[in-house]
Subunit: 341 residues, 2 copies
């Protein structure tokens, strides 16, 4: 529990109230404000963002656009829930509230954003699940609504973003598998035009070329970013001849469906097919053998995203927006073994 | 895809725009409105809620308060994501937008609600994860903000709610296990003061008493509503002497941790320990053997919740609010067997 939440708990106040008191907002009872400031002094709490001149609109609210109705959110992917906790806390430090704006994947994302902008219910927006060409970025870059993208895009524009290092993760996965002796390495990539799929595949292809491994189009499997995608990947691999000796997964939840399907076919990850997952995730802890994958601290990422939003609101227009490629460390596991002889 | 979404897709408009056109709202381009009304006529679409006199405030927005930072949302429980899709669609039919208001479990829930009410950013609220005694219900019942609770409570008040039939699910689980010959039946109940835990345990106790089964307090296991809760339940059962021959799980995600822990101990669900889960869920489809559990159509539930909100906004004050206990049908599976001889 970091500073402001500990302070709120000790005072039995909401984070929002504590935040508004620390930021000198007028809608706080003076006695409460004094209690908060005294406790903050006692606990040595220094709100690093307070006192900044934010370009507050009328709402002091930030909207996180979350795509719903897709295989990932309908599966067990709790990515956003972890992110939201830390993001909300970081925004609260700057006196900002967070609301989640669900946008169904079947709806027109531009019409959705136009509506949010027209309603003026938020001072800034966070968009996610960026596409390789992303019309939302073009639209928002031309609007007067500040925004941050969780994810890059090839759409040009001066905008702030944070993205995971998909390219390095894929390159490192190939290199580590090749070091164990694997040559035919399959790669599972989310279907559709998500930019992350493009980046992951680019990292895979660069490493395959650099190491002189077979560059067989049949090894590239397009599937849904979910548990069911992993089922499809396992079925495709079982039907291949020659079969790849390893597979790397471009979405974390694929491992669950892959393990289950291999098990039903009497095969064991590691001994029969090496597997490298994407993001380490508490739910993958129930898989046996443990999955080799990559670590990501979603609390840190959520806080960085919150700081980025605050920076965008605080910056004079025209300042260079912040951009950050987030590294992920490799976590070994017995799902990787040398190929069968 | 139901009516309004099909209509929006055909017209390449957002659901929100279609909804506003159907509801005669002024913020729609007249040409767009005519296109929508013509297409609706052609497709035979009848918006059942349109034209109702809703007690619209200024926002036409409904806020779903979602508790974050708890074991359930941080695990792989996608309950809310399924619910949100259908809820959003049903609200759109009545010209209402949905926003999700994340409230961290460490924050004061009353302070959070007071703030939402003071900001007047939503016309109505939906609260969930109701407690046996729930101060939020007492607060909202005394406010002028219409609300619907997803979940009952013993806190008195004239309010609308929808709740799952936890009591019948638990009673039926005991009865079906007893019919197979089980007598020592353990029950895993979410810890804390969630009302659903109280209802589930009440159903268990009523059936145990009616059937004359052993009423041993050691058989009641309090744990977290998550995968990790299932790990704890399995560990507790493995340490018991005499061991129960069956366990029923008061939260759906517990099955994942339970299966994993039994497997590591060399035990198989069904043959070695019968298991009845709570809600059927796509993620449980990866468990082997298949889990006996209860079916719930979250799309139907989400739409019913949306209609309940619309009713609350449409009703003249003083009308009896809607209340609904949602039945769940049993789904058999090989995780239930007669006890070992």
């Amino acid at each position: 529990m970091s500073g402001i939440r500990a302070l709120a708990r000790r005072l039995e106040l909401s984070i929002g109230t504590v935040s508004r008191a620390l930021n000198g907002r007028p809608d706080v009872n003076p006695a409460t404000r004094d209690r908060v400031l005294n406790a903050a002094r006692e606990m040595g709490y220094r709100p690093n963002q307070s006192g900044r001149a934010l370009r507050h609109g009328r709402t002091s609210t930030v909207g996180l656009v979350m795509e719903t109705g897709n295989p990932s959110t309908l599966g067990g992917d709790s990515f956003f829930m972890w992110l939201v906790d830390a993001l909300q806390e970081e925004l609260a430090v700057a006196g900002l509230d967070l609301v989640i704006l669900p946008c169904h994947s079947a709806d027109d994302p531009i019409a959705f954003l136009e509506r949010q902008v027209a309603r003026r219910a938020v001072d800034a927006l966070i968009i996610s699940a960026t596409r390789r060409q992303d019309a939302r970025i073009a639209y928002l870059a031309g609007s007067d609504t500040p925004f941050v993208a969780l994810g890059r895009s090839e759409t040009p524009g001066d905008y702030a973003w944070i993205d995971l290092d998909f390219e390095t993760v894929a390159r490192e996965s190939v290199e580590r598998l090749a070091a164990l002796g694997h040559r035919r390495i399959a790669v599972a990539v989310p279907q559709g035009d998500a930019n992350l799929a493009h980046l992951y595949l680019r990292g895979y292809r660069a490493a395959v070329a650099a190491l002189g491994l077979p560059d067989d189009p049949a090894l590239v499997l397009r599937t849904s970013a979910s548990e069911n995608g992993g089922v499809e990947v396992a079925q495709a691999i079982l039907a291949m001849d020659p079969r790849p000796t390893a597979v790397m997964l471009g979405h974390e939840m694929m491992a669950i469906g892959l393990y289950s399907t291999l098990e039903r076919a009497g095969l064991r990850p590691g001994a029969d097919l090496s597997v490298v997952g994407f993001r380490q995730n508490p739910q993958l802890g129930f898989l046996s053998p443990s999955l080799a994958c990559f670590r990501l601290d979603l609390g840190e990422l959520g806080r960085a995203l919150g700081r980025s939003v605050v920076d965008v609101l605080a910056s004079p227009a025209g300042l260079k927006p912040g951009r950050l490629i987030w590294p992920m460390g490799f976590e070994p596991g017995p799902s990787m073994e040398p190929p069968p002889l």
